[in-house]
């Protein structure tokens, strides 16, 4: 009797603690979404307005479509082009992530089956990821300007590809390690080359793993800030840089507009993250968590 009472108390305490953190985790996101629907008088009203009344789409229409008639004139920012940035972000994040996963999975296959990199080399590959970007960005931008890659999509794609490669190799390797080798051996006996085995047997077997890896790395490339800030100037802005332009405007704080843009940048990422929630641990754990 007392035991079950205590157990119920413990369960209640658990829900309390978890819900408390749930509120802390979600409140900023709620505030961003709520602000994006507020008319400009409620952006920093006192007392703060928690739920927009009436909710308005003006922020979205103004920010994303440049609809001037919805803009209070002092907040109109005409020089921005978020749809172009959306395209840039999609192309850059998409292409660099795809390269990273394709190349990473081939490398991972070689490591998993033929040890083409030792375990030490595999760990050393992580240096590529762990060097702070600020440390290389200045010489990189000079080098890029010499190559004519400054302010180009190719430039960003290349550097994102290199800096996310360690994650791609480690993550795809963890999937390939789980594929039974008998299938490949059968293919080899039937005379298939290693490349054919890889492309026609192994990669299709881990395709859900490849998708998970793709989405995992997309989270990193989609939100990257510093390299994009320096390497792209005007032509090729990505969405995080587009958002930071709103901060520099002197017309005053344009919270509603910022929030509308921020929601548009963040929601796709949240959907992606929730889709692969079961694989996130694998992406971060570098073989240190055994299932």
């Amino acid at each position: 009797m007392r035991r079950s009472h205590r157990r119920r108390l413990a369960a209640g305490a658990r829900y309390l603690v978890l819900s408390l953190w749930g509120v802390i985790a979600f409140f900023p996101i709620f505030w961003m979404i709520s602000t994006s629907f507020k008319p400009d008088t409620q952006w920093f009203a006192w007392p703060p307005v928690y739920f927009p009344h009436p909710p308005t789409l003006a922020n979205y229409l103004n920010v994303w479509l440049g609809a001037e008639e919805y803009a209070a004139t002092q907040y109109a920012i005409s020089s921005q082009k978020p749809l172009v940035s959306l395209l840039n972000s999609s192309v850059i994040a998409g292409a660099s992530t795809l390269l990273s996963v394709l190349f990473g999975s081939v490398l991972a296959y070689g490591v998993s089956r033929y040890r083409i990199l030792s375990e030490t080399r595999m760990f050393q590959l992580l240096i590529l990821r762990m060097i702070p970007p600020i440390v290389i960005v200045a010489p990189l931008s000079l080098y890029y300007s010499a190559l004519g890659l400054l302010d180009s999509r190719i430039g960003l794609i290349l550097i994102y590809f290199l800096t996310t490669l360690p994650y791609a190799v480690w993550m795809t390797k963890s999937f390939i390690d789980e594929v039974p080798r008998e299938v490949e051996q059968a293919a080899e006996i039937l005379g298939a080359s290693r490349w054919r085995t890889l492309i026609e047997i192994v990669l299709p077997l881990i395709r859900s793993g490849l998708v998970a890896t793709f989405l995992f790395i997309l989270i990193l490339t989609w939100s990257e800030y510093l390299l994009a800030l320096i390497i792209t100037k005007t032509d090729v802005t990505t969405l995080p840089i587009e958002l930071s332009k709103y901060q520099g405007t002197t017309e005053g704080r344009v919270y509603g507009r910022q929030a509308a843009l921020a929601v548009g940048i963040t929601i796709p990422l949240m959907i992606v993250g929730l889709l692969i929630r079961k694989h996130l641990a694998r992406g971060f754990s570098f073989g240190m968590v055994r299932r």
């Binding site: 985790a25 490398l107 050393q124 600020i134 290389i136 939100s223 800030y225 510093l226 901060q247």
Partner: protein, 330 residues
């Protein structure tokens, strides 16, 4: 499913013609894969590292014309950086920032993982909500924080209402509070990372030792301290090391929110390097600083790799012995 990883190359091959041609084919396969990687690293990273080295030994700013005939100054720039108190402070700030936020992330993440690792109704929902902060773009975190934290903003309003006490700290403009505020943001942003890793670590714990301990009559606390915690060591190490390194490199939130201000209150190493290079245009000094930071990071990473590899070996060995024990006693 676990498959014994027997590397094909280590399988003893008969020294027949067929074996030799197979070995040659594997070598060719290996280089077909590695060559593009080597070319890319040599094509992108080497020139960058060379340029950085060049600038740390040659005094050049954007006003000085073409960079290739900049004056050679030996170790002067390194001396300048190492005797610059602002750099020292930035380094201290970065270390404090990274240490505090790593510990914060870890403790909260581990606690949440501990509460979550047994199934209960609503677990999936909590999990989904808990990982959301990590999926928020860092720049968005910074701007949302500004909307939340201004003096008459919602956070202060909520705390005032809930506690009934007038609560009006200036989170972002008070120099004593600005760095702790950014730490809190970093913790909010990255608790999910520690949470996910620790949850995976807890779920992957072998059940046998824990059951054995509880049959022997050990209390819950003793099992936690003396069985679970030692088994979790590799995962804990990983969660701490990766988070610390990422926190040392944190730039987007600190920069977008405060640009190192108020004063120099949030001027961490990445922010100071950014200011030196892109606002004071002291490219060479920035390069020297970068070099120091890069060497420091590489040393830390190599040390961490040593540690992680040792842990991974003992982890693998433990799983092997558990597997063989399970085979012999069905």
């Amino acid at each position: 499913m676990r498959v014994a990883a027997v590397p094909a190359a280590s399988v003893a091959l008969p020294a027949s013609a067929r074996g030799l041609s197979r070995a040659r084919a594997i070598r060719r396969f290996r280089w077909a894969i590695l060559a593009p990687l080597v070319v890319l690293l040599a094509g992108v990273l080497l020139p960058v590292l060379f340029l950085q080295l060049y600038f740390s030994f040659h005094q050049w700013t954007v006003y000085l014309g073409s960079w290739w005939d900049a004056e050679y100054v030996g170790l002067d720039l390194f001396r300048e950086v190492l005797s610059d108190p602002r750099f020292g402070w930035a380094l201290l700030r970065s270390l404090a920032f990274a240490t505090a936020s790593t510990i914060g992330c870890f403790l909260i993440g581990f606690a949440l993982a501990g509460l979550m690792h047994k199934p209960f109704p609503g677990r999936t929902l909590y999990y989904a909500v808990f990982i959301l902060p990590m999926l928020t773009v860092p720049v968005v975190v910074a701007y949302t924080a500004e909307m939340l934290l201004y003096q008459s903003g919602p956070i202060n309003d909520l705390i005032t209402r809930l506690t009934g006490i007038e609560f009006k700290p200036m989170w972002l403009t008070n120099p004593d509070l600005a760095l702790p505020t950014v730490m809190l943001l970093e913790i909010w942003n990255w608790v999910p990372f520690s949470f996910i890793i620790m949850l995976a670590g807890l779920s992957a714990l072998p059940r046998e030792p824990i059951e054995a301990a509880s049959i022997l009559g050990a209390s819950g606390w003793r099992i936690f301290w003396e069985v679970q915690l030692p088994l979790l060591r590799p995962v804990i190490l990983l969660a701490l090391v990766l988070r610390f390194l990422e926190a040392m490199a944190e730039f987007p939130k600190t920069w977008a929110l405060l640009q190192g201000g108020p004063g120099t209150a949030t001027e961490t190493v990445p922010v100071y390097i950014f200011l030196t290079t892109w606002q004071y245009f002291e490219i060479s000094k920035g390069a020297a600083m970068s070099y120091i930071v890069m060497l420091l990071t590489i040393v830390i990473v190599l040390l961490a790799i040593q540690l992680l590899r040792r842990e991974k070996r003992s982890l693998d060995a433990m799983h092997e012995s558990l597997a063989t024990a399970a085979e012999t006693t069905p």
